[in-house]
């Protein structure tokens, strides 16, 4: 359920697009945003409509309006919304899903963190992939850090802490074996450098990448365990919080804020918003992506 995501756009003419989408889907889009923070832009409404279509088939609802009633009427609306969120975030799990996030990390954030920590004796970078699912995001981060190991991060210790609630996901992640679909955005360069061939259709992440990542099971709502996740420079938590209710979400986000070092960054999925659940984080823009920043002490913006 989690990954770095990337927006793709379809060249659909604006007027055609408006005619093609039932207005109820805009209502559903607004409801989904309000509850989960996931925003399906106009050109992606067809994805939302597809997801709704699959749910409608399951439920036997005949029209989008009828499905809207099922999404909003008790009992069962919470369960149905969860099913819908599953449908619309499905397939967002792949390696290198968001190039803008990778670019922001390597071109803007890393140089800044390296400059900030330059006087520290131990040069250590900690990244947390929270809700890592089957490991695609975690390995993407690790490979990109390895790319910098001879340049910006020369002499640094890098650690990617990857956690997920689901034991089976964690086991799959540890194996690090991926097929064509998960590798669809991975360039030949990265495939050759960081993967070995398992069979015709599958590649496995090489040991030197795995060495950077530690996978473990963690429930983000377990307050006592969250207290131990300190000293992070970066946290990625993509399409995970969308399933939490407002109170739990707010609690987890506060933990993330505390767990981040000053000057650290928090990334969500590319169409996901923190809404206004935490006033301490600064919303910041990088080319093609947004993130949340815990201001550094010297910035004077805390």
């Amino acid at each position: 359920m989690t990954t770095i995501t990337q927006s793709t756009t379809l060249p659909i003419a604006p007027t055609k697009r408006v005619e093609a989408v039932d207005p109820v889907y805009r209502q559903i889009r607004d409801l989904v945003y309000k509850v989960s923070g996931i925003y399906k832009a106009e050109e992606k409404l067809y994805l939302l409509a597809d997801g709704c279509g699959r749910r409608m088939k399951q439920l036997g609802s005949r029209t989008p309006r009828e499905y809207w009633d099922q999404l909003t009427a008790q009992p069962g609306r919470d369960g149905e919304l969860r099913h819908l969120l599953n449908e619309i975030t499905i397939g967002e799990t792949s390696l290198f899903r968001s190039q803008p996030q990778v670019d922001a990390l390597r071109k803007v954030i890393l140089p800044e963190i390296v400059a900030e920590k330059t006087k520290q004796i131990t040069k250590r970078l900690r990244i947390w992939s929270a809700g890592c699912s089957t490991g695609e995001e975690s390995y993407t981060l690790a490979m990109n850090m390895l790319e910098e190991s001879e340049r910006l991060l020369k002499g640094w210790t890098v650690e990617v802490v990857a956690t997920d609630l689901n034991d089976r996901s964690v086991e799959t992640a540890k194996a690090g074996i991926y097929g064509d679909y998960a590798l669809r955005s991975t360039t030949e360069y990265f495939k050759r450098k960081y993967f070995s061939t398992v069979d015709e259709k599958k590649l496995q992440v090489r040991p030197e990448v795995k060495k950077l990542v530690t996978f473990s099971r963690l429930n983000l709502q377990d307050d006592s365990k969250m207290l131990f996740m300190k000293g992070m420079d970066l946290i990625f938590c993509c399409n995970v919080l969308i399933y939490f209710d407002g109170v739990s979400k707010s609690k987890v986000i506060n933990h993330f804020f505390t767990n981040l070092n000053f000057g650290g960054y928090f990334f969500l999925g590319t169409s996901e918003s923190l809404m206004k659940l935490n006033e301490q984080f600064h919303l910041v823009h990088f080319p093609g992506t947004i993130a949340y920043w815990k201001p550094s002490l010297k910035s004077g913006k805390l």
Binding site: V108, H285, P287, K301
Partner: protein, 305 residues
């Protein structure tokens, strides 16, 4: 910038023979934006455009392009307005006018990239104004559309110097105004001001053109300058920049321009900036298509190859 540099820019802009005349319908069209009721505007637009066959023809060609998905190409400007709406036709007309004033062969910056940024900024200014009760959306649109005209002057009057600045900005992935300052000693803000004064644009618009990268220097019209400054930044962060990667982080709400705008318009505080950003993405494809329809080509990068 010293007074002598300012005088030099003004003189070169005033005297340069290649400096194009703006099509006659452009300024009256700008004045019409936001000034009259929809009915009057429609008649006025039709009347104005009938004076300029080239602009009218180009507008109809764009309106009939697959971009707008009309079943039948409109045969008149009035027909185009009825099918596409006045706002869209105005956008097409203004873009055609400016495109005619600055033919593509004279450019250092890829014109498609430039127009995407200008139209993008215009659109974001209008979108912001929809969230702020007391802002005139059409004026905001115009300020956004014209804020970077200084780049056109650079291309015509200082092509060699500007090419050096452009090359440096691309190579070092720094903001273009920073590269201009470092290599030329002045920016598109100063050259834009000289052209805006020559064209006798409205004072507030001149202020925006001259100070959108130095809001603290703005004496009057500060909220307008702030609005355009923020929209400009947002565009550059969402795929409507100058065609190269800008290596920096933007904290819009901590920008002095945000505080200036908020002081004038308290409702800015209620804007959900993340959703606003996602909504802006919805329009990016439309802008790419519009620019491709007007200019024929759609360059992917502004950087020298």
């Amino acid at each position: 910038m010293t007074a002598s540099v300012a005088a030099m820019i003004r003189e070169r802009v005033q005297n340069i023979e290649t400096m194009p005349a703006i099509p006659a319908v452009f300024l009256p069209l700008l004045k019409l934006l936001g000034n009259a009721s929809e009915d009057v505007k429609l008649d006025e637009v039709v009347r104005l455009v009938s004076y300029d066959g080239t602009i009218a023809g180009q507008c109809l060609r764009v309106a009939g392009s697959p971009l707008f998905g009309l079943a039948k190409s409109p045969e008149s400007i009035k027909g185009a307005v009825l099918s596409l709406g006045l706002r869209r036709v105005e956008t097409i007309l203004l873009t055609c006018c400016l495109g005619q004033a600055f033919p593509a062969k004279t450019w250092v910056l890829d014109p498609a990239v430039f127009w995407r940024h200008s139209l993008g900024c215009a659109m974001v200014c209008r979108k912001f104004s929809e969230k702020l009760a007391a802002v005139d959306g059409e004026k905001a649109y115009m300020a956004g559309l014209l804020h970077d005209i200084g780049f056109m002057v650079n291309c015509l009057v200082f092509p060699k110097e500007f090419a050096v600045a452009m090359e440096r900005a691309c190579r070092e992935e720094i903001p273009l105004d920073e590269a201009e300052r470092a290599t030329m000693g002045f920016t598109h803000c100063e050259t834009g001001r000289a052209l805006a004064e020559k064209w006798k644009l409205a004072d507030d618009v001149i202020e925006v053109i001259a100070n959108h990268h130095a809001i603290e220097q703005s004496q009057k019209a500060q909220p307008w300058v702030a609005l355009v400054h923020l929209s400009d930044l947002l565009c550059r962060m969402r795929g409507l920049g100058y065609g190269y990667y800008e290596r920096h982080m933007v904290d819009l709400m901590a920008d002095p321009a945000w505080a200036i705008l908020l002081k004038e318009h308290r409702d800015l505080g209620g804007v959900d900036l993340v959703r606003f950003t996602f909504e802006l993405d919805e329009a990016v494809e439309d802008i790419h298509a519009l620019v491709a329809a007007v200019f024929g080509s759609a360059g992917q990068t502004a950087c020298p190859q």
